[in-house]
């Protein structure tokens, strides 16, 4: 039997009495002070094993490490003051947007707020786009249920939204060779785990399907339900459909506090005014615990985990992975005995590139999206065990994302415990993208309950589940393209050479119903800048296009959010102001003199650096 006193003994032993566990509001609370974040995570994990209650709230203070400050919008106004929406959704990730769309089936006043300048800016947009089959989630039943249910909703959802989706299946490759003769046992195991259509693929059949797999992999389990989708496209499509059906979205809006009276949220304070919603939906990703705390309803804790993905150029991608391949076994560098997991996924994206990932790194920061060389080499080494031809040199970019699971590892999809008018979709870690449509359905049920049940809600008779998707020229054949160009010559002008994006596509996306006016915003929607030149050629051209379409001066065009303006204005104007500081002295002398002078300066420098080298020794 797990008990708090047993846990406290263990904690005492580990942390010298600096951490204490107690019960509060039917949760296990950890409090105290520790200097290292990794110890705090360890304490949280330990508490899960010895927890007589459902969830752990980890309130241990980290004294030794300071997290990076939260990215805050610069905007301060009263745009939303006195807004009284029926439902306020906090967070514009895939969960928040799926909920907004699902809610727009009813006649409700829906407001979704996002603190960043665009949607899918954090965990949602920083995953690899795999639509999970639900493999390996037995220990977290809620997660497994939502993942499997969500997976089955994808085909219909994506066809309604006009989002490209491919059910490619996933090969789970065992890195331990001893397993291959016993694959039928493994098939039974996975079927027992709830993966009813798992099947063994062996030898030639496997290598014909996935020629990139290493020759030492003789068998794999195939999960046909897995698929792939572009996470940005999906999130934005959900939001656009929600807006089409009456929802409102505002960016650069951050929750700063809440007023709670008698277990009821009466006001949500933001940098754009105080909103007075009837019901609040917490879909704030890594910040779900902070929002819960503001609402006086913190009954769970999350720990941020950072993962890095490597994107491989399309032209090398064909031989690496055709669907998704993952390895199953003991991840490199992990010491624990029983720690077999799915790790290292190599996936062919919707656009033909290959994404390899990911490592899992505990971190104190919820928004540290920087990449590190050690993560990249770890990802490459890990994935090379199944796809040996993977080469870091063929990478066109890397990206990191943070997902924040609860200490229990399972999702929290529930009404508030201490506060009545809040609903949480919290701790939605990987594979949250897959689970999103299913979670949204349940959240809407809970929201409806708060309004007195579904029957008391009026349905939105004008609800249209079909979104008019932007035209993607790259998918069209030659003749259709000709027809389009005849209707609008801008379809014939290609502005992004790597991804073949036309001027008309850029202009179209600038005018859609969810605001998009930054370089990254366009990149997330239709991909210019995501090819092999990474925007070297197209970014100034698209910069110009945004400026002329939005009637802005070039210095107001941003790469991403506020503070990311790309230029400082006309150089001539700036140079004119500073001209006194610059001297244009032109030294006279022949070419030879000039070269000789340069050589001398360089020689003196190299002498200096040699000397400093010696000093170091």
């Amino acid at each position: 039997m797990p008990s708090i006193s047993k846990l406290n003994k263990q904690l005492d032993k580990l942390f010298d009495g600096q951490v204490e566990a107690y019960e509060e509001n039917d949760c296990l609370v950890l409090s105290g002070e520790l200097s290292r974040w990794s110890d705090i995570v360890t304490a949280g994990m330990l508490a899960v094993a010895e927890n007589p209650y459902e969830t752990v709230v980890n309130e241990i203070l980290c004294t030794g490490e300071k997290p990076l400050p939260i990215r805050k919008p610069r905007m301060e106004d009263s745009h939303l003051e006195w807004e009284e929406p029926d439902v306020l959704i906090i967070g514009g990730g895939v969960i928040g947007c799926a909920i907004a769309r699902e809610l727009s089936r009813y006649k409700l006043d829906i407001l979704l707020i996002e603190k960043e300048n665009d949607l899918a800016m954090q965990a949602s947009g920083r995953c690899n786009g795999l639509v999970h089959s639900g493999v390996g989630l037995k220990k977290t039943p809620l997660k497994q249920w939502y993942t499997k249910t969500g997976n089955q909703m994808y085909a219909k959802l994506c066809s309604e939204l006009g989002v490209p989706f491919r059910r490619c299946g996933e090969y789970l490759c065992y890195t331990n060779r001893l397993w291959s003769p016993l694959m039928f046992l493994s098939q039974m195991y996975w079927r027992w785990q709830g993966m009813k259509n798992a099947k063994v693929v062996k030898g030639d059949a496997l290598h014909t399907a996935e020629p990139g797999l290493g020759s030492d992999i003789s068998a794999a389990l195939f999960f046909p339900d897995a698929g792939v989708v572009c996470p940005h496209t999906l999130t934005i499509a959900l939001a656009e459909n929600a807006v089409q059906n009456g929802a409102f979205i505002t960016f650069n809006t951050m929750v700063q506090g809440m007023t709670v009276e008698d277990g009821l949220i009466t006001g949500v304070l933001t940098n754009r005014g105080t909103i007075k919603p009837k019901v609040v939906v917490n879909a704030s990703g890594a910040f779900c615990e902070d929002i819960a705390a503001m609402a006086g309803d913190r009954f769970f804790s999350v720990h941020p985990v950072k993962g890095t993905n490597v994107v491989i150029d399309r032209k090398y991608a064909g031989d690496l992975a055709r669907a998704a391949v993952s390895s199953y076994g003991k991840p490199p560098g992990r010491r624990k005995k029983r720690s077999k997991t799915v790790f290292g996924t190599v996936l062919r994206t919707m656009y033909g590139t290959v994404v390899a990932g990911t490592d899992n790194l505990e971190t104190i920061n919820k928004e540290d999206f920087s990449t590190h060389s050690y993560s990249v080499s770890k990802v490459i080494t890990g994935c090379k065990r199944i796809v040996p031809e993977l080469d870091e040199k063929q990478a066109i970019t890397y990206y990191s994302g943070i997902n924040a699971p609860t200490y229990e590892g399972d999702y929290i999809v529930s009404k508030g415990k201490m506060t009545t008018n809040i609903v949480h979709a919290a701790g939605i870690s990987t594979p949250g993208l897959t689970a999103a449509p299913a979670i949204a359905v349940d959240i809407v049920d809970m929201v409806a309950d708060l309004f007195g049940g579904k029957n008391s809600l009026k349905s939105n008779t004008e609800f249209d589940p079909v979104r008019k998707a932007p035209i993607r020229l790259a998918d069209l054949d030659f003749d259709t393209r000709a027809e389009l160009i005849a209707s609008n010559p801008d379809y014939g002008i290609i502005v992004c050479r790597c991804e073949n994006i036309s001027k008309a596509e850029v202009i179209e996306v600038l005018g859609r119903n969810v605001r998009c006016d930054s370089l990254d915003g366009i990149k997330r929607r239709i991909r210019p800048g995501r090819g092999r030149c990474q925007g070297s050629f197209c970014s100034p051209i698209i910069h110009d296009l945004i400026a002329s379409e939005k009637r802005l001066t070039p210095q107001h065009i941003r790469k991403s959010g506020s503070g990311s303006e790309i230029t400082y204005g006309s150089s001539k104007a700036i140079a004119h102001k500073k001209s006194s500081a610059i001297h244009f002295s032109k030294e006279s002398g022949t070419d030879k003199d000039i070269k000789e002078k340069a050589r001398k300066v360089l020689l003196a420098q190299s002498d200096k650096s040699k000397r400093s080298d010696e000093d170091d020794d």
Binding site: S370, Y399, I485, P489, C533, S536, P540, I566, S609
Partner: protein, 415 residues
């Protein structure tokens, strides 16, 4: 849908492509020139400094002036120019190459007997330079910075660091300084500047811009705008030395760490690419190992002089207009380890007229070196150089025709 037929199609309207189109047209071919941008001239349009054309036009020109002279000559020919036109697909069929094109007028199918790939090069990005960290505004390649500055008239940085010291880096440093930005330093991983010494002196030292050799940038900081970069000393192999990191505050990081020939179209046609030049392997007539497919300019080999680009284009244009499908006998040129890159890599034995132009770079700096070309051990060419630098492409003109057989060995050596 219209189908047009041409003798020669030139892909790319930069200096190489224009020169190739002119040469092929003068030679009597019907020529199509395809450019994806709105104007001809390629990168010359944004290189507004002078120093171009002393060899070709006998005077010091700016990039746009050089391009203007080229374009004026082009306008006197019968070359069909298609601007803002993109190749959607290209394939070869029975010695005829078909291209599916699109532009604002619609889609076009063009057929051509021979094609010249003058697609130029692109710059290495931050990822390819092993820079990690965040991805804020302010990290850009020198070409992008030049476009903002010289074409759009916008200042993209206020206080920046430049990584790389080739001529593009040096000239961008000077341009930025003149336009009111502060260049806090030019950092070069190797122990010698990659650009011409003349430029080091004229662009950096005269503007008091420090040059730091043996350094690289390893990380970027800043969530929206670049706030700082991490600089690091590197060892001889170019690996950052741990413990030598220092943080430099800046709002811009400009990368000029090398060019990669753009050969995605060549790859579609199945043209073998050299691992040394990253461009197609070709013979002295600029024909790749696929008959009827020619290469020139920076797509073939990254040159540091626009004149060589134009000359290689002219050579490709002439050869392409005279192209007839036939069996080829080629001899590979053996280059010693002291040679970094060499074009052409092959000599076509059957179409060898007059002098052969070769371009090479040495692997390391050498003083008082002699470059020799040997045919079956017999010296056919020798030239002394006071200094040979890896950054500089050298051009030699050799007469190979005399005494050459189909089984000969041709060797290029530096001693």
């Amino acid at each position: 849908m219209t189908i047009s037929r041409f003798g020669v199609t030139v892909i790319g309207g930069g200096p190489a492509g224009i020169a190739a189109a002119i040469a092929a047209s003068v030679d009597g071919a019907s020529v199509l020139l395809i450019e994806r941008g709105a104007r001809l001239g390629g990168m010359l349009k944004q290189c507004i400094h002078d120093g171009f054309g002393s060899e070709r036009y006998g005077e010091q020109l700016t990039g746009p002036e050089y391009a203007f002279k080229d374009i004026s000559t082009l306008q006197e020919t019968n070359v069909v120019v298609m601007l803002q036109t993109t190749i959607l697909d290209i394939f070869s069929n029975d010695n005829i190459i078909q291209m599916n094109l699109c532009n604002r007028h619609g889609t076009v199918i063009a057929e051509t007997k021979s094609v010249i790939l003058a697609t130029g090069s692109r710059e290495k990005t931050a990822i390819q330079t092993n820079i990690h960290g965040t991805k804020p505004t302010g990290v850009m390649t020198a070409g992008t910075a030049q476009y903002y500055l010289n074409v759009m008239g916008q200042l993209p940085v206020q206080r920046c660091i430049i990584l790389g010291s080739d001529d593009a880096a040096l000239i961008t440093a000077r341009r930025l300084t003149i336009e009111g930005a502060k260049v806090a330093g030019v950092y070069e991983p190797s122990d010698k500047p990659a650009g011409q010494l003349k430029n080091v002196s004229q662009c950096l030292f005269e503007y008091e811009i420090p040059l730091e050799l043996g350094h690289t940038v390893t990380r970027t900081f800043g969530s929206q705008r670049l706030r700082a970069v991490e600089l690091c000393r590197v060892d001889k192999a170019g690996v950052p030395i741990r413990g030598s990191e220092k943080i430099e505050k800046c709002d811009g990081l400009i990368l000029s760490t090398g060019l990669i020939p753009e050969n995605e179209i060549a790859e579609k046609l199945g043209v073998p690419i050299s691992k040394d030049t990253n461009g197609p392997i070709c013979d002295q007539n600029n024909m790749t190992l696929i008959g009827g497919v020619f290469t020139c300019g920076n797509a073939m080999n990254v040159f540091d002089k626009v004149e060589y680009v134009s000359q290689s284009g002219e050579n490709a244009g002439r050869s392409a207009s005279r192209y007839m499908p036939q069996e080829r006998r080629v001899i590979e040129i053996t280059a010693g380890k002291e040679i970094l890159t060499l074009v052409p890599q092959y000599i076509d034995y059957d179409i060898l007229f007059g002098d052969t132009v070769m371009y090479f770079r040495c692997a390391s700096e050498r003083r008082d070196a002699t470059v020799r070309v040997l045919v079956d051990g017999r010296e056919v060419f020798a030239q002394k150089y006071e200094i040979l630098r890896p950054a500089v492409t050298e051009k030699i003109v050799v007469n190979l025709a005399a005494g050459l057989t189909a089984e000969s060995n041709i060797t290029l050596r530096i001693e």
